[in-house]
Amino acid sequence: MRISVQSDDFDIAAEIDLLKNKRTDLGAIATFTGLVRDIHGEKDIKKMTLEHFPAMAEKELAKIGTEASDRWPLQGLTIIHRYGELYPGDQIVLVITTSHHREAAFNAAQFIMDWLKTDAPFWKKEETEDGTHWVDAKRDDDKKKDSWG
């Protein structure tokens, strides 16, 4: 399991290669990338600042990854989350799961994203022409997490 909390950008292809590493026993690779969108509601986003709790961030991501590994037979797993100042189009988060079977890879990746939204200590602040504001947590995200039981 590779977990990284970093301000630098990440390279999806390089991360997939790290997991593959010449292995020939992988059947399925699922990836998810979250990006900064240029609009929230009706307002143009100029910048997004991601604050995080350094002492807990990697630890909580590792817990989520371990939980996913307990639920599905994964062959490999990567979770990368960025912090700092980001701009529309920038990558925020990457999840990669590999498994013999596609269902395990898909479900584990979706599970990790749903848990990460509510359990990983990151906070988004958006800058628009009206100033900056903290993004509100969505009640819907709690439901998505809870739907996994």
Binding site: E51, M56, I92, L116, W123, K125, D136
Partner: protein
């Protein structure tokens, strides 16, 4: 007790951490917050919406009725919005 603040709560209070000596009657996280609210309007505003408050003690998430002591490190923050 060392207290860390994040995001909206950090901005309301105007600092990212501080050292507070807990009064004797304080036993839970909720008690700490009640005590902090006596320190000024910036604290009152930070904790105005209890539904939007989360806590961790020594880097583990805890409920607001969790017991704390002066040697613990408490972190207070709003619901997470990463990903």
């Amino acid at each position: 007790m060392n207290i860390l603040y994040f995001a909206r709560i950090r901005e309301h209070i105007g600092k990212s951490s501080e050292e507070i000596t807990l009064p004797e009657r304080v036993t839970t996280v909720a008690d700490v917050i009640e005590h902090l609210e006596t320190l000024g309007d910036n604290y009152k505003n930070a904790f105005a919406e209890p539904d939007l408050l989360r806590a961790a003690v020594n880097d583990e998430y805890v409920p607001l009725d969790y017991n704390v002591s002066n040697t613990d490190e408490l972190a207070l923050f709003p619901p997470m919005t990463g990903g």
